[in-house]
Symmetry: C2
Subunit: 150 residues, 2 copies
């Protein structure tokens, strides 16, 4: 592996240990040229999560779409960015764990609502009212999906 300091092409492993969950391997590497050391992690490939929108088109899942929607819904409300990130991370984790190939955008909309309700009723209601113009709540996530192309 290339040295992250001098750019030298070769490095050797000084130590390698499994992490607690054994889901990753931590290695301590040393550059063969400059002798500097650094740490690497070997982790399972993050296969993109694909989302099927209501019109049938497919888009890669984008956590920031959820975050941006929640930021607007929670403006001036006691929901911190950290909590918003938690919600989005939690949803991503659940989607990855589900192992389902087909994830429908309607499902993601439901997951956002379900979690937001637990954090702040007002944001939840605002969330619903802001997007009242949509036929149903699930359309919201399609709106988020479209945000990319505006």
């Amino acid at each position: 592996m290339k040295c992250m300091y001098c750019g030298c092409e070769d490095s050797k492993v000084m130590d390698s240990r499994a992490t607690i969950e054994t889901n990753a391997i931590r290695r301590r590497r040393e550059c063969l040229k400059c002798g500097k050391r650094w740490t690497t992690y070997e982790t399972v490939e993050n296969t993109p999560i694909l989302v099927i929108k209501k019109n049938g088109s497919i888009q890669p899942f984008n956590k920031n779409k959820i975050i941006s929607g929640l930021i607007k819904a929670c403006e001036k409300r006691p929901v911190s960015l950290t909590q918003i990130e938690d919600i989005a991370n939690d949803i991503e984790k659940e989607l990855r764990d589900s192992l389902t190939q087909e994830i429908r955008s309607i499902k993601i909309g439901d997951m956002v609502m379900e979690r937001l309700k637990q954090y702040d009723e007002v944001s939840y209601i605002r969330f619903a009212s802001v997007y009242r113009q949509f036929k149903d709540v699930s359309s919201f996530i399609d709106f988020l999906s479209d945000f990319n192309e505006n």
Copy 2:
């Protein structure tokens, strides 16, 4: 490494190749028990970037703080989420490449302004005007830092 399918503790490497940039190693693994295969990547550890706020306190850099600030500044403006992400990613990359230990929040504020100006003058001006109440532009990033604790 643990099998991502059956949870078995052991797997072996079938194939390992350096990626184009030699910044990572891609391995093809096979579970010794269930025989299923998957791909892993060994990459350099993402060491947290630490930001020194104006009052001297230190916080980990959080890309989402930049994104959330830009989302508000670019509402109803022709700046897409993708472009906002590009700005934030570009800043993170520059910070990582700088190898500077000390990154002051004022610097990040400047970097955001500099890039936003290139994307959309109106958002840039709004950005400046919204935060006019602060003594100077650089205080904005401290505001973002505080968003976590609101």
